[in-house]
Symmetry: C2
Subunit: 340 residues, 2 copies
């Protein structure tokens, strides 16, 4: 039987990490293998910190989701919170509770996927904790930074949206929901469907765009769409004490090829509904004051940005249907407790 | 049914915390309620970061451990890692996965206990994540600091012990194991036994001693005894590439009153064995170079410090029996995977 130490060493080998005694990366004074990690403070740098739980049977299914995708996504989704602040990721800690029968093959694949995400996102593992448990429960703490100008670090909160600002999303919505439906139908390993599966299994995180928007002061409020546009827009509006209107026709939806719709049968949802309420897309939703809109032309992946509506003074979110009808949009995105 | 937002607000009310828009505590630029927390860097300050998992049926039993003790201990044990570095705790993040039927009374008591620990330990909640799950799984990230002198922050790692140094423990060992045995026998709520139960349910964390030893450069290596003296001494020796000898007669053991031994019956273990291999004591184990020993007299709680042995050049840990016999001490403390 593996012991905890052996598990930690195996994970740390598969993931870019800083071992005790090998602290070369700037900013780390003490890495994995001691009671805690030590991070050097740096001039004019604020630390941005977030934690994210990723739990079996709630966020993923052990028999349907590939272990490497679980590792990749657990780290990617936590890092998306930093993208939404405009911060740059540096370090992470992994808290991993897993059943004994997951400590070999499953853990190796998990660590491989997480290692791939860490390299892609520029993250280094500096510490963690491993324990046995009845089901898999992952918690990832990500630490990043924002460079301070004067006394203020250019992070973008959820609360700065003002009436009149334009609402943008960074890409098509509902793609992760489509991928999830395919996984639930046991197509996770179907090679022909990888392109449609990827947004759900290995989500892209909009780090460059987030940092670009923050450092230039172009976005006045920002959030990542992790639980669905309807829910995350409501959160942004509530934090900013404003409302919003969005136009159904402007929302970039996923295109479902008809053979795929056939595979899904009755599970194939309406693309607009998937875009409004589907979770896990990790696109950014941000407000841009009108006078700054023209500056967006220089944004990374500018061609994917889409203006979906605008901020209004009246609380609540309104959806404008193609025929001009206005309907109140309820937050019907993902909430693990409400679905329970 | 409660939704995630309501849960977070309820927890944040019970625990000293920094809400978005109310960031008064020095060092915090953005608190709970956004995508991530923002911590101001400070001159000459290194951040010390640790994460700790606390899982139902592995670390505690829902039907035997009071919920407020689960909350208290989850935070206390994570903070003990900072004590072992000599760092001072500042902020924490809570990742909480729990079943729907734990979201009312259980969660309220849990938050109350965690709030009490936070006040005691000087910690403020700055962020977290909550999700539903089949069983309770808690992960706590604690962020503290060490003040830098010159280019070096006075943290104490596990790896600085050299042959000839004296080995000290900060207090009696095996007390948490005794408390655990009482809890397993359903005495958790017995008012007469609270003093014996407390070390297991509400462990004291040696923050002042740890910081005192670190800031004065008196300890050359340090670890908290979370998994038993035999296991944690082996870790310290392995990290320092040294060995150690400890004397059975010098190890401060727990005194079991005979009526209590009677209650436990066959579960009453030998006090030395409980001290060597029992987990969860959170006393500090540290090495002190001989020439610095006299300085210890000024330490907080000096009267509880006990020299149990010394560091030797030969790898391995040796226990000297009262009759002078030397036996090799195996690391038989707590390992959740080995017990699986």
């Amino acid at each position: 039987m593996a012991d905890e130490r052996e598990l930690i060493e195996r994970v740390a080998r598969a993931i870019p990490s800083i071992q005790r005694g090998k602290e070369q990366k700037q900013g780390i004074a003490l890495g994995i293998g001691d009671d805690a990690a030590v991070i050097r403070s740096a001039r004019k740098r604020d630390w941005v910190v977030t934690v994210d739980a990723f739990v079996e049977d709630v966020h993923f299914l052990r028999d349907k989701h590939p272990a490497d995708a679980v590792g990749y996504k657990a780290l990617a989704r936590a890092t998306s919170d930093l993208a939404a602040m405009g911060a740059r990721p540096d370090f992470f800690l992994l808290s991993l509770a897993l059943p004994s029968d997951c400590t070999r093959t499953w853990l190796n694949l998990f660590a491989k996927g997480m290692g791939r995400a860490a390299r892609k996102l520029g993250l280094v593992l500096v510490g963690g904790d491993t324990t046995r448990s009845a089901s898999i429960s992952i918690s990832v703490t990500v630490i990043g930074h924002a460079q301070r100008f004067g006394t203020k670090a250019p992070v973008v909160s959820r609360s700065g949206a003002r009436a009149g600002a334009l609402l943008y999303v960074s890409g098509p919505l509902g793609r992760a929901q489509l991928g999830l439906e395919l996984v639930l139908q046991d197509y996770a390993n179907n090679r022909k469907l990888q392109k449609l599966l990827a947004p759900h299994l290995y989500p892209a995180i909009r780090l460059q765009l987030g940092e670009w928007l923050a450092s230039r002061g172009i976005a006045s409020a920002m959030i990542d769409i992790s639980d669905g546009l309807s829910t995350d827009l409501a959160r942004l509006c509530s934090a900013s004490r404003v409302g919003a209107r969005i136009y159904a026709e402007r929302i970039p939806v996923v295109q479902i090829p008809s053979p795929v719709a056939g595979l899904l049968g009755r599970r194939a949802a309406d693309p607009l509904s998937m875009a409004l309420h589907g979770g896990d897309d990790y696109e950014l939703l941000f407000a841009v004051p009108k006078k700054l809109e023209r500056k967006l032309a220089g944004a990374p992946d500018f061609q994917n940005l889409k203006c979906v509506g605008e901020i209004e003074p009246t609380m609540g979110v309104r959806l404008i249907e193609p025929d001009g009808q206005v309907r109140h949009l309820l937050a019907k995105g993902w909430d693990s407790f409400r679905r329970a």
